[in-house]
Each structure stands twice: as C-alpha cells, then as structure tokens.
Amino acid sequence: MFAHCADPSALGGLNWLLCYLTSGKHLLFYYSFGTVLVLLAVTAPVALGMGFLGAMAARAHNRALSLVGKAYMLMVRGIPDIIFFMFFVIALDQGLETVAHHLRCPDWTEPIRTALEFKVCPEAKIPPNSAPQYVHQIYGFALAVVTFAIVFGAFAANVLYGAMNAVPRAQLETAEAYGLSPRQVFRRILVPQMWVYALPGLSNLWLILIKATPLLFLLGVNDIVYWAQELGGSKTDSYAYPHGDWRLWYFLFLLAFYLAFTRVSEVVLGRLTARLSRGQATMAGEAMRKAGA
C-alpha cells in the first residue's frame, strides 16, 4: 500500500508492522468485516419479514396456514440451528440446479440423483462452470444469506407471535367495538403496540445473529474467521512477511471485535427500548411517566 513497503525484508519494528498490517491480504481481511456487516444488514430485515409472515400465518384462522406457520416456528426449537445451516445450503443449491435442469435440458435421460452423486446437465450448473471466481463467491454468499434468513426468520416468528399475543386483549376489543374491521385492528392497533413487547426478544435475536455470523465460515464463505486462520498461520521465509503462528492474536482480535459489537448493540438497543416504552401501558412506560411528571 505504501511505497516504502516494496521491500519488507529491509524493514524493522513499527514500520514492518505497519506494512504487514496493510498488505494486500490484510486488506482482504478488513473487507471481510464488511462481508459480515453486509450479511447482518441484509439478513436482519429479511428475517424480520419472514418472521412477521410466519407469525401472521400462525395466527391465521385458516387451519392449514396456521399449521404451516406453527411448524415453521417449531422448527428451530428442537433441532440445533447449525444443522439447518448445513442442510439448507446444500438443499437450496441442489433444488435450484434441479429446477434449472428440468428447464434447460428436458431431454436429458440419466437420473439426477444416484447412490453416490448428484448430477445435472452442464447447462444447469449454477453458477456456470465457466463463470469467474467472484460469481461463485457471490452465489455462495447469497445462499448463506437465504439460509440465515430462513433460520432466523423462524426465531423472529417465535418472538413476534409471542408479542402479538401479549398485546392486551382489551385494546383489540375496544377497537372492534368502534367498528374497525379485523384488518384495521391488526394494522392500526395490534402491530403498533406489539413492538414494545417484541423488543426484548428481538434485541436478544440481534445479539444471537451477531454471534451466528462466524458460521459463514462453515458455509464456505471467505469471512473473518477464514482470513484469521489464513493470515495467522505461520509463514515461512518464502513469504514477504515471515512470522510464527499468530492465529491466537488474530482470534483474540476477533473476540474483541465481537465483544465490542455486542456492547455497542446493547447500548443502542437499551436506548431504543426506552424510546419505545414511552407512553405505553407497561410498567416501563408507567415508570417513565412518573419520572417525567
């Protein structure tokens, strides 16, 4: 990055460290923090949306729809989330390729799935074999995002379903007495009030989501854990910056990153809770009213 870094072997002390920490691979390492943030920024709203749909489905009067919603919510309770991560990534990939296979090669006669392999015609490969490396990476990342959204949507559905049930029944009955239709009750009374009940659960979920991001490594994305492994491993003299096994320091750095991230989130969520409790018919809202009066 800097001009004087051209010959690392001639450097020493702080200069060496500065050049080391700004080497090309380290820049990729710093970008991978961006990957994690992008994952969080994309997954959180999508998961919240899926959770909202799930909770709505579970509350529906339609029996079948309600069962679907409840099954989605139950999914994460008994089974470790990591199994879903492992499962969905392969299952989604194979599902997409199967669909593409039927669309693009209708006259292919060999079976797709045999005892030992999963084989679709070359045209149905997603992404195509000839695609450049970065397309494969983006595809892998997209699969990871969808998987995260499905799994965390189920968690969010649990939280939102509980929150919808926590809104005092009297509030809804009053609205009904005023002649509001079920749809209006849902949109104008239930949804605005449920957030304060959902917030403790959603804050928790956000913290869980932050802590689940290293799983990207298991899904084959070059995330911060991958780069910490890669950069920390001992480098022989054939490398520009030879050093011993520094993985411990890299992981300590990751630990500090996660702790700081968690701490900042906790503070922000605490403020948000205070903001949403204002004027609510809950204990926190009542305490704020008294303090203000």
Binding site: V76, R77, G78, I79, P80, D81, I82, I83, M86, F87, I90, A91, Q94, R113, A115, L116, E117, F118, F155, N158, V159, G201, N204, L205, I208, I210, K211, A212, T213, P214, L215, F217, L218, V225, A228, D245, R247, L248, F251, L252, L254, L255, Y258, L259, T262, R263
Partner: protein
C-alpha cells in the same frame, strides 16, 4: 450386511469400538441411523458433563455478581460478559490456539509435571470451553433469578432469625433455583444443541470419531444427498430435547411442590439462548 450386523459394527464407532472403516459405497439407511446415533454419544457426553460442572460454577458466579464487594463482582461480570458476548465458535478457535501453545512436555509445577497435551484433544478441550460457556449463561440466569427473589421472603427469614449461610441455603437458593429453572431448562437444551459445533470448529476428529453432526456431514458429503442424514440428526435431537424437557420438568415440579397449582412456574421452550 444386515441391519443387526451394522448395529454391532458401528453402534460404538464414535468412541473407537467396532468396525474401523466407515461405510463408503452403497450406504444404507440403517448405517446412517446407527452411525449418527453413535455420534450422539459425544453430544450427550459434552452436554451432560458441561451442564453438571457448569451448574456449580454458575451458582458461584451468580453469587459473585450479586456481591457488594467489587473484587468479587467485577471479575464475575467480565467473565459473564466475555462468554455471553462472543460467539461460541470463536471461543472454540481461541481455546484451541491457547491449548496448542501450551508446552508439549507439560508444565513443571513444584516438581510435578502437569501434562497439558490432553487439552488439545476434543474430549477435554472442547469440554472445558463448553463448561465455561454454559457456566456464564447459567450464571446470568441465576443472577436474574436471585435479584427477583421476593423481598418478603427475606424479611420473613430475618424475622425468624435465620441469617447468614442458613438463610442462603434454605431461603434464597431454593427460591432462586425455582425462579430461574424455566430459563435454565432452555439453557440446557441449547447447550446440547451447541455441542454440535465441537467438531466443526478447530478440535479435530481423532480417527473419524466425531459427533452426530460430524457423521451426518460425512454422509451428506459421500452421497451428495442432504435430505436423509440431516433429518436423522434432527430426529435424534428432537428426542433428546423431549427427554431433557421431561427431566427438567420433574425437577421443576419438585422445586414448585409447595406452591398452589396456579402459582407454579411452567417451562416453556423459548429459543433465545443460542450462542
């Protein structure tokens, strides 16, 4: 091989007994069920031991966090924050790196050589991490429960002249356990779920002796078919969850046995504790 033969060959494969070679071709459903079930031994081993040992440390930590003395309170707070605030995954990696760096020949302590190489093995190293992790999570639960012990209970104890350790043992502690138990049940369930991370973080699976998810991933890799092995693991874990809920429920009933039935705490599964 018939299914009975498979069972005898692979039922204890995960702890190194029976057939050495894993099935490679013509993998049957029975083989998948047996091997994944055999891997479950490890999940139960980690979960049960970490939970048992963690319970005691969690009680101590909860008390330390509730203590007036900052020398007790601050370390407990930091311990709990570190383990609750960072991903278990990173904790595994970090612990493994620390254990690897320990001297190979062991540490000389007052003339006695303490061997440390066993810590780099999953059975001990991962257990230590899980133990500390669950202790931190449970300590936070017990601390919250300790803070919500009704004031009246303590005043009543004071009025009866019960003080000091007797007050803790007979009034505070049982009430704390009773109040914290539903949340602690969830912690236990998600601890068992977290044991699946062991062989996916840094601790290597020695001679292909892994946990349930390790074998499931092995089969998914060999057959390119995720639709059989992963649901099998899911099935096993649902059974495990049901068993745990039942066991913790019976403890819960005992803790609540003096209360009228409408005041008893119910255990509800809340997926809010994954690491």
């Amino acid at each position: 091989m018939t299914c009975m033969e498979t069972l005898s060959a692979y039922a204890f494969r995960s702890i190194g007994l029976g057939e050495r070679m894993l099935p490679k071709a013509n993998i049957t459903l029975c083989e998948q069920f047996t091997l994944i079930g055999s891997g479950l031994i490890w999940n139960i081993y980690y979960g049960a031991l970490a939970l048992f040992a963690g319970f005691f440390l969690a009680n101590a930590l909860a008390l330390a966090k509730a203590a007036q003395n900052p020398w007790l309170r601050k370390p407990a707070e930091w311990f709990i924050f570190t383990f609750r605030g960072s991903p278990l995954f990173i904790q595994f990696f970090l612990a493994y790196q620390v254990f690897v760096l320990l001297p190979k020949g062991g540490v000389e302590l007052g003339g006695i050589t303490v061997h440390t190489d066993w810590l780099t093995k999953a059975w001990a190293g991962a257990l230590v991490v899980l133990f500390l992790n669950t202790a931190a999570y449970s300590a936070e639960i017990f601390y919250g429960a300790l803070r919500s012990v009704p004031k009246g209970d303590i005043e009543a104890a004071d009025a009866y002249g019960i003080t000091g350790f007797a007050r803790f043992r007979r009034i505070l502690w049982p009430t704390m356990l009773r109040l914290g138990w539903p949340a602690y049940t969830n912690e236990a369930i998600f601890l068992f779920h977290a044991t699946t991370l062991v062989f996916f973080s840094s601790f290597p699976a020695f001679r292909q002796q892994g946990d349930a998810l390790y074998y499931a991933a092995y089969f998914a890799d060999k057959t390119y078919n995720p639709f059989i092995p992963y649901p099998i693991v899911g099935f096993y874990f649902i059974c495990l969850t049901l068993l745990l809920t039942w066991a913790f429920n019976s403890v819960n009933r005992r803790l609540n046995r003096h209360l009228p039935s409408n005041q008893r705490a119910r255990i509800r599964l809340r997926p809010q504790l994954i690491r």
